[in-house]
Assembly symmetry: C2
Homo-oligomer: 105 residues x 2
Amino acid sequence: MPLAKTDTFNNSDKQLADIAKALSHPARINILRILNEQNYCITGEIVDLIPLSQSTVSQHLKELKRVNLIKGEIEGPRTNYCLNEAVVEKTKSAFTKLFSTFKCC
Amino acid sequence: MPLAKTDTFNNSDKQLADIAKALSHPARINILRILNEQNYCITGEIVDLIPLSQSTVSQHLKELKRVNLIKGEIEGPRTNYCLNEAVVEKTKSAFTKLFSTFKCC
DNA sequence: TTATAATATCGTATATTTACGATAAGCGAT
DNA sequence: ATCGCTTATCGTAAATATACGATATTATAA
């Protein structure tokens, strides 16, 4: 993306697009499902469940944290991740709202 | 993305991630809203409403068509676009289903 | 038939994403 | 203090995405 013309777009559309971007990789959806099932996971557990390297998984976790879909608290040498339930619910609402604006939905 | 390891991910997660990718740019969400309001639009009308060049808008339309969120029928020298309501509804369901799996939702 | 109009595609430049291995940084235990 | 474990970050390579102008294509109008 050479030039950022995104300033001219609607703000809530930009936010929603940004969340959609965070959801735009199966590994990240997978991670969300894992965290939902296990409540809390350290990085290593997630790495064991995802067919990607440790560093790549760490990057995906970073992307999910960027949009606050997950929280990570450091516990000694490890990081304990969990869903950020408030943001997950907000995201659900945002998508629901988007689709409810469509006549067909 | 050097190597496609995505084969190992769950199929519905891949599909949902792919749709999320199509929604991951504010211009494309904008286009969906425009098509919802106007029912049918030719490319030129959309170009007039989006602060991007004709060729760029055309690319965004192509991405939305790739995932079948919109349909485009050629009418003479122009293309008439509209929402693919069935796919929009399916997409809504897919997101609803995803979020309903989360305990907090 | 030629010109005009609309739009998709091509070519290109830049930015971002994705992936990996290697390294660094932090903590706990010895 | 050092070693080992965990995890984030760095460096790097390749693939995609985003944007634009220019061109090709197609259908209508003159």
